[in-house]
């Protein structure tokens, strides 16, 4: 299985256009970009994909070892760029994928023209004067809750109690039809995301970057966005009026305008 199938790559826009690579965050898949990506379709080559373990990616390719750090996902991004022969890439990463973009750009600076980081956080846990937004106890509680399987969709109880359901139609009948994830993979991804610390990687980036900070973002609070901006050499900081952690969905217009202005 090739990289494009593995990551369920979908393409749009002019074939010779400058590539815009959109990377979704924890909890969803490329559907997150449904109101943002089309706005750039006339001018750019749009590349959407699902991280392995999310959306319609190849779940069989999920390797706990490889994806035990965000670098595993960054390697996939680079692999994808090579496979599709993407150069001068504008990388748009939401949430945890903002950091995945940082790692990819640090590893292969020549590949990327610009980075757009939406709600980035290099470290979710407060530590020695650093404000990440969550205490260590909070995160431990979250991880325990995930292990106990009582967070999230009620249907995730079913596999936990029954083991693997051998009735695939159960999966199809879910009312929450977007952002379906394998519960075990989602747990692992959450653990990797919320225990990651990529603060030191910010300084390795030379690519011009845009930091988009939402209002009232409980996942990546203002202080975190500021921290990223201050430690990312030559970055631009834009505060959005949009609330929450997903402006690409709740305020796509404002998000698109901010990105366009930066480009």
């Amino acid at each position: 299985m090739g990289v494009t199938e593995r990551n369920n790559v979908t393409l749009a826009g002019p074939v010779r256009g400058q590539p815009m690579l959109f990377a979704h965050g924890f909890g969803c898949d490329q559907a997150m970009w449904r109101h943002v990506a089309p706005a750039f379709e006339d001018d750019y080559r749009i590349v959407l994909f699902d991280h392995v373990g999310a959306g319609k990616s190849d779940l069989a390719a999920y390797d706990r070892e490889k994806y035990s750090t965000l670098q595993g996902y960054a390697d996939d991004v680079l692999e994808l760029c090579r496979e599709l022969e993407l150069h001068d890439v504008i990388f748009v990463g939401h949430s945890v994928s903002a950091m995945i973009g940082v790692l990819a750009a640090a590893a292969e600076p020549g590949r990327f023209a610009k980075l757009v980081l939406i709600g980035p956080s290099p470290r979710y846990v407060d530590e020695d004067g650093y404000v990440g937004g969550f205490s260590n106890d909070d995160i431990q509680g979250v991880l325990e809750a995930l292990d106990d399987n009582y967070l999230g969709w009620s249907h995730t109880y079913a596999p936990a109690i029954m083991g693997r359901p051998d009735r695939p139609e159960l999966q199809e009948e879910l009312t929450n039809s977007f952002c379906r994830t394998d519960p075990a993979i989602a747990r692992h991804f959450a653990r990797v995301t919320f225990t990651s610390d990529n603060r030191a990687d910010l300084g390795r980036v030379r690519t011009p970057s845009l930091v988009l900070q939402c209002s009232h973002d409980v996942i990546a609070p203002d202080a975190v966005g500021r921290y990223v901006h201050e430690h990312l050499p030559g970055s631009v900081f834009v505060q959005l009026e949009a609330s929450g952690h997903c402006p690409n969905l709740s305020a796509p217009k404002e998000t698109v305008e901010a990105i366009r202005a930066f480009l």
Binding site: F26, I161, N176
Partner: protein, 476 residues
């Protein structure tokens, strides 16, 4: 809370009352998360005051950290994409910091231009369900652990049987199935006393060791099947059950019995001729002067006879040992059947020779070891002469492409029950020697072993009267 539900006036079910006192929590919040309405039920569940919440708190202030993250990363995007979410498990924070497990349903309401205006959410208190689900998860983990343990038990060589306090069989491993001769699927859940014949003996004889103590195994006979088995059984208290472990020691016991028997038989068989020879020699020594030449010769012949008998017994024992421990190969050569018969007849005591009626073709080539075959046939003829008084027929004829030697007598025959056992080591028809016929019980065992090594067969042919053994050998 009882007070708030009392309604003594006429029944009107106002929308306000239905909202405020519904059996579910209601909450409305605007896109920036600010809570714009909450019903009394929810506020009561969370021990919060209306004015401290509405217009002051955001949704995430009411969510436990895990649910806060989950809401932002999963629920909020879904609401934006499909305008509603169903059955999402989460936890709300009560005023005192404790958590309330809830199930969330929500809809996103948009204005005419499609802009999100408000999210209406309902919360179900699922504390009971959470406990139940935890119990299920725990039970599943336990069941899996048990299944793993049972799987491991199946690879243990000792039989393991778990009997509950009510006397029912809770579990038995593969080794226990084999030792007890039962199938787990058939006996599991049944009373041990009913499902396992002979179980009372186990419970009455085997003491249940306290947990941590070293159980003392008992060796007992077991089973209602034809074949009696001897089991070494130990029992130990396993909380609300007793764990029995089994080892089949039948083979060890058989070996032990065989060893005892062998010592008894061999000592007896050796002592008889020794006593005879010793007596004759002593008589000769003490009374030589009184005895005439014929008497002296008779006594000396007795000494020689008994010495020969001793030597024969010792030969048998040595041969048995050789057959047991090594591959004593026969030398296979072609020879004429009558050569064997002639050699056998020469070995028969002169006084008995008249009883042997021989029928052998002039030419019938046989393949085998001439001397071993002579030993086998001689043993059969010897037995026939010993166990009967009439004629003994030694016949050779072609039979199914083999050369068949038969030795038949007209004696008492072999009881049906013993026919299968006559070829066993140390088996004797008359162990008490009531008929005064001795023997080591090795002759037929040796015969069978030798015939098999020559590629032949030995067996017993049923007769109305007397005994008839045959030996089939491949033709040359």
């Amino acid at each position: 809370m009882e007070g708030s539900r009392q309604d003594t006036g006429p029944l009107h079910e106002s929308a306000e009352d239905l909202y405020e006192n519904a059996p579910v929590g209601y909450l409305s919040f605007v896109p920036d998360g600010t809570i714009v309405r909450a019903n009394r039920t929810l506020l009561t569940w969370l021990s919060l005051e209306h004015d401290d919440v509405v217009g002051r708190l955001r949704l995430h202030d009411l969510l436990a950290p895990g649910s806060r993250i989950y809401h932002e990363t999963h629920v909020a995007p879904l609401l934006q994409m499909q305008d509603e979410v169903h059955e999402i498990a989460g936890e709300l924070l009560r005023g005192d910091g404790t958590r309330l497990p809830v199930l969330l349903n929500a809809v996103l309401v948009r204005d005419h231009s499609g802009e999100a205006r408000v999210v209406r959410a309902t919360f179900l208190d699922v504390s009971e369900r959470r406990r139940y689900e935890r119990e299920l998860l725990r039970a599943r983990a336990e069941a899996e652990a048990r299944a793993r343990a049972a799987l491991t038990l199946d690879h243990v060589a000792e039989g393991v049987l778990l009997v509950g306090e009510d006397g029912r069989i809770e579990l038995l491993n593969a080794a226990a199935e084999a030792v007890l001769g039962v199938a787990a699927a058939e006996v599991a859940g049944r009373s041990a006393a009913e499902a396992l014949p002979g179980w009372e003996l186990v419970t009455s004889r085997v003491a249940v060791a306290r947990r941590g103590a070293l159980p003392a195994p008992e060796v007992l006979p077991f089973g209602g099947r034809q074949e009696e088995r001897w089991l070494s059984v130990a029992a130990i208290d396993a909380g609300d059950a007793v764990a029995y472990t089994f080892r089949d020691v039948t083979a060890e016991r058989d070996l032990d019995r065989l060893r005892t028997e062998m010592v008894a038989i061999v000592s007896h068989e050796l002592r008889t001729p020794l006593t005879g020879a010793y007596g004759a020699a002593k008589t000769l020594l003490a009374r030589r002067a009184e005895l005439d030449d014929a008497q002296q010769t008779a006594l000396l012949e007795l000494v020689v006879d008994q010495a020969e008998r001793l030597a024969r017994i010792l030969d048998q024992i040595l041969l048995t040992s050789a057959l047991d421990t090594s591959n004593l190969d026969a030398r296979l050569l072609a020879f004429e059947a009558h050569e064997v018969v002639d050699a056998v007849l020469q070995g028969v005591a002169a006084g008995d020779r008249g009883r042997v009626i021989v029928s052998v073709p002039d030419r019938l080539a046989v393949q085998g070891d001439l001397d071993r075959l002579r030993q086998v046939i001689a043993n059969l003829v010897d037995n026939a002469l010993k166990y009967s008084d009439g004629p003994v027929r030694l016949t050779v004829a072609e039979h199914d492409l083999s050369a068949r030697f038969t030795v038949a007598d007209e004696g008492a025959g072999i009881p049906a029950a013993d026919r299968d056992r006559v070829f066993e080591k140390f088996f004797r028809l008359d162990p008490a020697q009531r008929r005064g016929i001795g023997g080591t019980g090795l002759g037929l065992y040796i015969a069978r072993e030798l015939v098999q090594r020559m590629g032949g067969r030995i067996g017993y042919l049923p007769r109305d009267r007397g005994t008839c053994f045959y030996v089939d050998l491949p033709p040359a």
